[in-house]
């Protein structure tokens, strides 16, 4: 009996003591210091462009370099050596992507030893256009309150995107039914070539194509201020007589992304099924891309 009592108490004491020793103070909960992945570990530098493809069988089209800026020669044609660009980024910059200083050189592509754009559109492109019917499942606006002209365009968007559970609340402007622009084009000048009907028809075709092919860069903070202008010259078959050229000065990454998305769309959509009899009306065209409907 005594024995068992003392053994029992001994064990109790030992247990208590071990609890004190073994269980750490909650306030001193340890965290493995490996938690932090030191950023310094990752170094980065720019990868120069590779040798331009030797045999571009189907690549007839190359965008011409914009004339505005002096073209910058490519520092290296080979990646093997991988020397940093003239503006070397020594070690981890706060930003992995190119910073403004680099952007200009990147946007203004040096003239590459490429054949000039040919009038004829290559076949693969044509095929691509034909086979290219994207499913048109646009996200449905959850709710469309009734008509009243919107005061600000982005209020319209706001309202359309608003996911309020019931009609009760929200100090929102009401919205017109058409988020999509009306189909009736407005003619501003009478002295253009072609009849109004012809021009409307042309605009209709181009707009339909663009609504398929253009993926405007989303997420833009000031999208409603953005306009990207392209001067286009067409050949009779509806392809480009010269590569699409943007008139828009690229001053920041957002404009650059917008210019490039528009150029991709133009090239992706070519050729354009424009009526040959009105070729004189559409052989030169100005397109203004305004990604206002995106955020």
């Amino acid at each position: 009996m005594r024995w068992s009592v003392s053994i029992s108490s001994l064990i109790h004491v030992a247990l208590l003591a071990s609890a004190v020793v073994v269980l750490p103070d909650p306030e001193e909960f340890e965290v493995t210091t490996s938690e932090a992945v030191p950023v310094e570990i990752i170094s980065e530098e720019e990868v120069p462009k590779p040798v331009p493809p030797e045999k571009p069988p189907e690549e007839a089209k190359k965008p011409e370099p914009p004339k505005l800026e002096p073209p910058k020669p490519e520092p290296k044609q080979e990646v093997a050596a991988l020397p940093p660009k003239p503006e070397p980024e020594p070690t981890p910059k706060p930003d992995p992507v190119e910073e403004p200083p680099q952007e200009k050189p990147v946007e203004e592509k040096p003239p590459e030893p490429k054949p000039e754009a040919k009038p004829e559109t290559p076949d693969p492109l044509k095929k691509l256009i034909e086979s290219h019917k994207l499913p048109q499942k646009k996200p449905k606006a959850p709710k469309r309150p009734k008509e009243k002209p919107p005061e600000r365009f982005d209020d319209t968007i706001n309202a359309l995107l608003n996911k309020l559970p019931d009609e009760t609340s929200a100090p929102l402007p009401d919205v017109t039914e058409e988020t999509e622009p009306t189909d009736t084009p407005r003619t501003a000048a009478v002295s253009q070539s072609g009849t109004q009907l012809e021009r409307e028809q042309i605009a209709e075709i181009v707009r339909a194509k663009m609504s398929q092919c253009w993926n405007p860069p989303a997420a833009l903070k000031d999208a409603h201020n953005l306009k990207v202008t392209f001067n286009l010259a067409f050949d009779r078959s509806g392809g480009f007589a010269r590569a699409p050229q943007s008139e828009t000065a690229v001053s920041d990454s957002i404009t650059r992304a917008a210019v490039e998305s528009a150029r991709r769309a133009l090239m992706r959509c070519a050729p354009y099924p424009l009526p040959e009899e009105t070729y004189d009306v559409w052989k030169d065209m100005v397109l203004n891309f305004r990604p206002i409907t995106m955020f």
Binding site: E45, K49, A219
Partner: protein, 451 residues
């Protein structure tokens, strides 16, 4: 650009009209042509952009495995962003075999890719991992960007995130948000006996780490925008107090020597101050204070007999948004960072709480209680343009992605077995999805970009 924007913004009023009439045929008096047809394009395809990420090549089996895994991280990031649609590798026609040659653009156009990412992995003799990538414009047939990285192999996921950010920025024009983390409260155990731990994971849910052991209730963790530091509220001392926690060292400390409760902490944009609510012992009201972390100086910003809480700085540090019931119900207010110019900005029906200023400065996100439902919404900094992004039985606690484009919040499900989970929604209100966590999770806070 800015000059351009100025001139354009003055035309904002007319812009609506222009937009409604998408096609304006104008006479453009350019000299090289007598008459030009000019067309405005306002409608694009809102489908996510099809993009292909080829498995990164490598010379050894190990390299190729890394290459595949990194491509997988990039695909996952781009997919979840809602802005891109990565094309499955089964669809790829060209199998990239050389990193140094241009790809066969035609092969990528056929599968409708607009952009292509190629890359190469090479484990170095010194044990480091070298990763290179190029982003190609498939239609313009040019390289848009390309970088190479060196890191330790265990950092391979970060390589994937850094490349995702570079691709995102180049194609959208805005900074990415993939190389970032989320700190949150992990909840385990039955509903009436929840254990809450401070936890952290990568933005995509990988690399979960638990930072506290769950002995004490912890709430509202927030990242320091400038250092590896978190502030949060804990009941460790039986009273709710604001704590600081150093991620790298595991060290923690109480912020300030306040008599009473401190809660709802957040850092200032420069990371030097903590702003929070302080409810003195015996007081029924709470006011907003800042404490300088170096000088420990305390400053009082509001002084009302109401509950002022949930303060959040504008990214330029000049203004603070907060919630207050001084007008009878919880509403959102804005003041200057010295406490002057306090002004209510929310006027909709319902009660507003947890306002958070967007890192890009243009928006304020909030939780709204309306007809017994909790909604997450955004409004402009002046309170206009309110828009609800998601609604339901219980949504709460929005936090912005580093680029101000995506919100993370938690959504509670009903019932005995219900609990909170993390969800994300982008600014358009579409692309809502759950962030997978192994346990219940609440109170998320997004870190700034890590580099």
């Amino acid at each position: 650009m800015s000059a351009y924007m100025k001139t354009v913004s003055s035309k904002l009023a007319t812009l609506a009209a222009v937009a409604v009439c998408a096609v304006a045929l104008l006479l453009a008096g350019t000299p090289r042509s007598l008459a030009l047809i000019e067309i405005d394009i306002t409608q694009g395809n809102v489908e996510p952009m099809p993009i292909a990420v080829a498995d990164f090549i490598g010379s050894s089996e190990k390299d190729r495995q890394f290459g595949q895994d990194i491509a997988g991280v990039i695909n996952g990031n781009l997919q979840r962003s809602g802005l891109f649609r990565p094309l499955g590798r089964d669809a790829h026609i060209e199998k990239i075999s050389s990193f140094d040659a241009a790809p066969r653009f035609g092969d990528w156009r056929i599968i409708k890719a607009q952009a292509l990412v190629t890359g190469r992995i090479a484990l170095q003799s010194d044990g480091r991992l070298k990763a290179e990538f190029r982003l190609w414009d498939v239609f313009a047939q040019t390289q848009l960007t390309g970088f190479q990285f060196f890191t330790t192999p265990r950092n391979w996921r970060r390589i994937g995130h850094l490349i995702s950010d570079a691709v995102y920025q180049r194609l959208t024009g805005e900074k990415g948000y993939f190389d970032s983390r989320v700190v949150f409260i992990e909840e385990t155990g039955p509903k009436d006996q929840r254990v809450k731990r401070l936890a952290m994971m990568d933005q995509d849910g990988a690399n979960l780490r638990r930072l506290t052991n769950g002995d004490h209730l912890v709430l509202t963790p927030r990242f320091n925008p400038k250092s590896q530091q978190i502030t949060y509220m804990s009941y460790a001392g039986r009273k709710p107090r604001v704590y600081l926690y150093n991620i790298e060292t595991g060290q923690r400390e109480i912020v300030g020597d306040f008599q009473g409760m401190t809660f709802a902490p957040r850092f200032s944009p420069d990371g030097r101050q903590v702003i929070m609510s302080w409810q003195r012992d015996g007081d029924g009201n709470a006011n907003i204070y800042t404490m300088d972390l170096r000088s420990r100086k305390i400053r009082r910003l509001t002084n009302t007999p109401a509950i002022d809480t949930g303060p959040s700085y504008s990214p330029d540090g000049k203004q603070i948004v907060f919630e207050s019931d001084r007008g009878g119900s919880q509403q959102i207010y804005v003041m200057n960072s010295d406490g002057s110019g306090q002004q209510r900005i929310s006027f909709g029906k319902g009660r507003y709480s947890t306002p958070v200023w967007s890192p890009r400065g243009d928006m304020i996100a909030f939780t709204k209680l309306l007809s017994r439902r909790f909604l997450i919404g955004v409004m402009r900094r002046d309170g206009s343009g309110e828009r609800i992004l998601t609604e339901g039985y219980h949504n709460e606690g929005p936090t912005w992605s580093p680029n101000g484009r995506v919100l993370l919040f938690f959504r509670e499900s009903r019932g005995e077995r219900g609990g909170p989970k993390l969800w994300s929604v982008d600014l358009t209100g579409y692309n809502e999805q759950e962030v997978e966590t192994s346990n219940f999770a609440s109170d998320p806070a997004w870190s700034p970009l890590m580099n």
